[in-house]
Amino acid sequence: MPAGSPCGRVDAMITVERLTRKYGAFTAVDDVSFVAQPGRVTGFLGPNGAGKTTTMRVMVGLTPATSGRATIGGHLYRDIPNPGRHVGVLLDASAQHAGRTGREILTLGAQTMGLPASRVDEMLDLVSLSPTEAKRRLRNYSLGMKQRLGIAHALLGDPSVLILDEPANGLDPAGIRWMRGLLKGYADRGGTVLLSSHLLNEVELIADEMILIGHGRIVAQGNKEQLLADVDHKVTNVTALDNAALAQALQAKGLAVTQAGTGLRVEAAPVDVGRTAAENAIVLTDLRSADGGLEDLFLELTSDTQRDDVPQGAPA
């Protein structure tokens, strides 16, 4: 798979084109376009209410689009016959009859898709739900167990595309690691995985490609290196015994300086700030990069959609 621009490739399995979904005056998904490729895990990342779930629901035809469209392997989802055999979907692990047992839920799926009953046991085994657990009713499942069951349901029909909404939600650390391995292996065998999350770390570890969404709009996409390269402002937090003198010296070099807490925020790399201080014999008490990597980028890009203000001077 060649690296490069994530857009415009011919081998896109999931293609979302200018998708918009409005609810009255509220635009949940605003002109969203992206692709997910076979053999890769594509992470769909954004804060709560950014439009991830709505986008995924439109993909599988549960929510009609206001405009634009989403295709899977060149087809609209509703045109795919027996779609469970091609596209594995997990949108909400709790959206099942609470009175059904785990095994019964998988059996219904297998029967609809026309699969042998043995497939149910294979899937229960794959997601490590024991026979006793499989006999329990869904209302007695923990969230983690529901997620495992949901992943088993998505994989039942041996699909070549997986669309998973927050699949790691509720899984314990061992479960998250297990899912990571499972999805990596699935993508390595040529499958297409699109998974959403509001947790950056989760997606960073598993996704080859990331799509950042905020306020219904795509704010950035690419792999980790591309994302960081795109928005790589060198910013440094520095505190000196004599902040005023340091600020003057930095400004003399044409660097932008702003007051930040007890120190200064400089738009330059730490090495340049340190050099300026040394040249001017200014004693530094603190010098560090304000560039916090993906997390900062994520928060910066989605800042106007965050529910909570990021505290000023938060450790980078």
């Binding site: 035809g61 392997g73 016959p81 099942q96 059904r100 029967q111 609809t112 898709m113």
Partner: protein, 264 residues
């Protein structure tokens, strides 16, 4: 799983309709709620028939097999619509529709499959009720051979089957319209028990209303089916028009709503 950008759908057939029906049938009894609803329907019918049998036997009253069937129909006409309502609304109340309609995006096929399941369960219930009626008649036969008759007209059985199926479909139609269990049951009760009283009052009090009401009163129109004495174009016309009003209209709007609805 080749790394191609298209899904090869040539080897995949649409989910056969019979399979959808089989899955929907299974869903009607694979939960405790569904299973006990079915058991209760048969239980209630059996209980009432048993009480009726005891009364008849003790009081030495004359009785026919047809009487038991009429009694059973009286109860199933209320219980079957509730069963039909549950078939539809649980997909929304339990949110299992998310999965159901992901696996079969052609939603109308699922709705029709559910309707077929409603008819299957209606027929099973009616056969069970008929068997219970036969058993009760047999008991009366043993106790009071002279007073017990096995007469039942084939037309009675046909009328019984058709009216019960229409009653079930009435509940089904209201369920698709409202997609909410309690609301659908309340509306059904109003339709079933309050409306006939209103029609009667209207006929008695408003001069011109008794001309209009046969066209609106689906239940009165069905009375003739039960007697299997539907004769004349006028009666058929009443049945069709009132049926369109109480079955066709809610089902049409309901189906339109289900096809467009966003499943949350």
């Amino acid at each position: 799983m080749a790394a191609t950008a298209t899904l090869d759908l040539s080897g995949t057939a649409q989910v056969p309709f019979t399979r959808l029906v089989r899955v929907e049938l299974r869903k009607s009894y694979d939960t405790r709620a569904g299973f006990w609803l079915l058991v209760s329907i048969l239980g209630v019918v059996g209980l009432v028939l048993a009480i009726f049998t005891i009364i008849i036997a003790v009081q030495s009253e004359p009785v026919l097999l047809g009487d038991f069937v009429v009694l059973a129909a009286y109860m199933t006409s209320f219980l079957l619509p509730i069963l039909a309502i549950m078939l539809v609304t649980t997909e929304w109340s339990q949110r299992s529709g998310l999965v159901t309609f992901s696996l079969e995006p052609r939603r109308s096929r699922v709705v029709v499959a559910k309707m077929v399941v409603g008819v299957i369960l209606t027929l099973v219930t009616l056969v069970a009720a008929f068997v219970m009626g036969v058993l009760c008649t047999a008991v009366c036969e043993i106790v009071n051979p002279a007073l017990t008759g096995w007469e039942i007209a084939a037309t009675d059985l046909a009328g019984f089957t058709v009216t019960q199926t229409l009653a079930m479909l009435g509940g089904f139609a209201l369920a698709t319209l409202l997609l909410n269990t309690p609301a659908a049951i309340v509306l059904f009760v109003v339709y079933r028990y309050v409306l006939p009283g209103l029609f009667a009052a209207g006929n008695a009090l408003i001069g011109w209303f008794d001309e209009l009401s046969p066209w609106l009163d689906f239940q009165a129109a069905q009375g003739d089916i039960y007697e299997w004495e539907l004769s004349g174009t006028e009666e058929w016309a009443h049945l069709v028009v009132s049926g369109l009003l109480w079955l066709g209209l809610p089902l049409g709007i309901g189906l339109w709503r289900i096809l467009r609805a966003e499943l949350k």
